[in-house]
């Protein structure tokens, strides 16, 4: 009997120790690295001139013949001022500003995505932040340049939508990145522009939230109807063990 009491005592402290170590591990494994790259737009001079591509024979079929890939590879597309300068050259060339804006929208959305899609497969926060900051520039431009408002809005909407979806996918694959500072930064930037990434809570987070919100009856109902018999037995065993440990501690120290 004494042996059982002693083991119960030890078990109680091992359980507490396990919880503390788990929490410490969780805290230590969270990435608190927060060195957001500065906005580099305006600092690169690629020497690219769009005029060299604007041959007279392109004029009537510019959407098909425009060298999309060469432009993405060579021009400084992450500098919005450069993009606007090229758009201006295009306007002088084709005399059709609506067509040019549609062409540049396609260029800076789907075509650019196709070009960089491989770099978006894995979670790379620095690349995503760079893209997000660039796309956010279009949000600000649309407020002051009403002539190109639709163009800015479309590019901004495309990238925020894409990145918002990507954040949801990354969080689903690895729920722990939700607590990373860079990830949180991107989520908040998206939310500020009314793009809510589809990020839900894991089952354990839900249990904790319901517990903190005092939804005890809902929790009990979910446990009772939504789990199988083995899960219920494990929970029952855990609760029983906790009470038994407390009983042992009480018996050893206070009786």
């Amino acid at each position: 009997m004494k042996l059982i009491l002693r083991y119960g005592y030890i078990f109680f402290f091992v359980t507490i120790l396990f919880v503390i170590v788990s929490l410490i591990y969780k805290i230590l494994s969270t990435d608190f690295e927060f060195s957001i790259l500065s906005d580099k737009s305006g600092h690169i001079n690629t020497g690219f001139e769009i005029k060299q591509y604007l041959a007279p024979e392109f004029k009537n079929n510019i959407t098909k013949l425009f060298p999309y890939n060469s432009y993405i590879d060579s021009a400084d597309i992450f500098n919005i001022k450069n993009v606007l300068k090229d758009l201006d050259s295009m306007d002088k060339f084709t005399q059709d500003s609506s067509l040019n804006r549609d062409l540049f929208t396609s260029l800076l959305t789907e075509k650019l995505e196709n070009k960089i899609e491989n770099s978006l497969i894995l979670y790379n926060p620095d690349s995503l932040i760079y893209l997000l900051q660039w796309a956010d520039g279009f949000y600000h431009f649309q407020k002051v340049d009403s002539k190109n408002e639709r163009f800015y809005r479309r590019v901004n909407r495309f990238w925020f939508n894409l990145i918002s979806n990507k954040l949801g996918q990354f969080a689903e694959t690895d729920p722990s990145i939700k607590y990373n500072v860079k990830f949180k930064y991107m989520v908040e930037l998206c939310r500020a522009r009314m793009f809510y990434p589809p990020i839900g809570n894991s089952n354990s987070e839900k249990v904790l939230n319901y517990f903190l919100e005092g939804k005890y009856s809902y929790l009990f109902q979910r446990l009772w109807y939504g789990t199988n018999i083995f899960f219920k037995l494990i929970i029952l065993f855990g609760i029983g063990l906790c009470f038994y440990s407390l009983h042992c501690v009480y018996k050893v120290n206070f009786k």
Binding site: D102, T105, S106, T109, E110, R150, R153, R154, R157, F158, F160, N161, S164, N165, G168, C190, R191, R193, M194, F195, Y196, P197, P198, I199, G200, N201, E205, K206, Y210, K215, Y218, Q221, R222, Y225, G226
Partner: protein, 292 residues
């Protein structure tokens, strides 16, 4: 003696109030049928609403407004002018902060611009006329009329189409939300592998045509716990076999942490055959059907 007088006065007031209640008519019983049906050893509660004459209408509250009025207060304010409510139910899912998931526009106001690409294939448009239309996003054939021109949009694949759709919805003061598409044109659209495995009560909204070719909106509540896939499969079988419904679409109504549901009889009294687990005041979005 005084006590008896007061008591009889109270009785008189109470009975006259009761008479008033029972004589009140919220909706026509010819258009709304509430029933409990057992089919293949399973219980289903069904609310069948006929859209004939467009007297039964739908209204969706997607989020709190910019003045900070929460969804329930917005509903109460709206109810002052539309008192004949048939039912109210929680609608689509919310994220970890209580914001609606997927593209959401509430009466022309953008709530959430994120169009979820691969999980929620139903784009629901609730019109001011009270009708509901659903487009299967995977088909890429969302039909709208922009400035008198009929257009077919693929809002997942084309950023221009998505932009045009959002601008159209805001200009038309439309209400839009995204949810799981479970059945489309009588075909099951979810699979058992990728769908949520959690077991819980299930509630669905199915829209289709009955045997007489009339448009019917049905809310089906399954109290028996099941996964989303199992529940959808059973209800598809139930509606097509037992109710002979030609289903245009069936979507999921959230019965998770924001499970809100209230049902009213034709005399405006609450019907307790289906009840949400949460108080309606805690709703983060609400789908309402009413009679006008």
């Amino acid at each position: 003696m005084k006590i008896i007088r007061v008591f009889s006065l109270l009785c008189l007031i109470f009975s006259s109030f009761n008479v008033k209640l029972s004589s009140q008519q919220c909706y026509s019983q010819d258009l709304v049928e509430i029933s409990g049906v057992t089919f293949k050893q399973e219980k289903y509660y069904v609310i069948t609403m006929l859209r004939e004459g467009e007297r039964i209408k739908a209204k969706y509250f997607a989020a709190q407004d910019f003045n900070g009025n929460n969804v329930y207060n917005r509903y109460l304010e709206w109810k002052k002018y539309n008192p004949n409510v048939v039912l109210l139910s929680s609608g689509t899912y919310m994220d970890d902060r209580g914001n609606p998931q997927g593209l959401t526009i509430d009466n022309g106001t953008i709530v959430n611009q994120t169009l979820i690409y691969n999980k929620m294939d139903a784009l629901v448009v609730v019109y001011a006329s009270g009708g509901i239309a659903v487009s299967n996003l995977k088909d890429g054939d969302l039909r709208i009329n922009i400035n008198g021109t009929n257009r077919v949009l693929d809002i997942i694949k084309s950023s221009n189409d998505l932009d045009d759709f959002i601008e159209w919805a805001t200009s038309q003061r439309a209400t839009v939300f995204q949810t799981h598409l479970l059945v489309y044109k009588n075909q099951l659209k979810i699979d058992s592998y990728t769908s949520n495995k959690d077991e819980r009560e299930r509630r669905f909204l199915a829209v289709g045509k009955n045997e007489d070719g009339k448009i019917v909106h049905s809310i089906v509540h399954c109290p028996q716990y099941s996964t989303l896939y199992e529940g959808s499969k059973k209800v598809l079988d139930f509606l097509t076999t037992a109710k002979h419904l030609d289903i245009t679409f069936m979507i999921n109504l959230d019965t998770g942490a924001q499970d809100v549901f209230e049902l009213y009889n034709s005399n405006c009294s609450p019907n307790s055959s289906i009840k949400g687990q949460l108080d309606s005041r805690k709703a983060v979005n609400l789908l309402t059907y009413y009679f006008k």
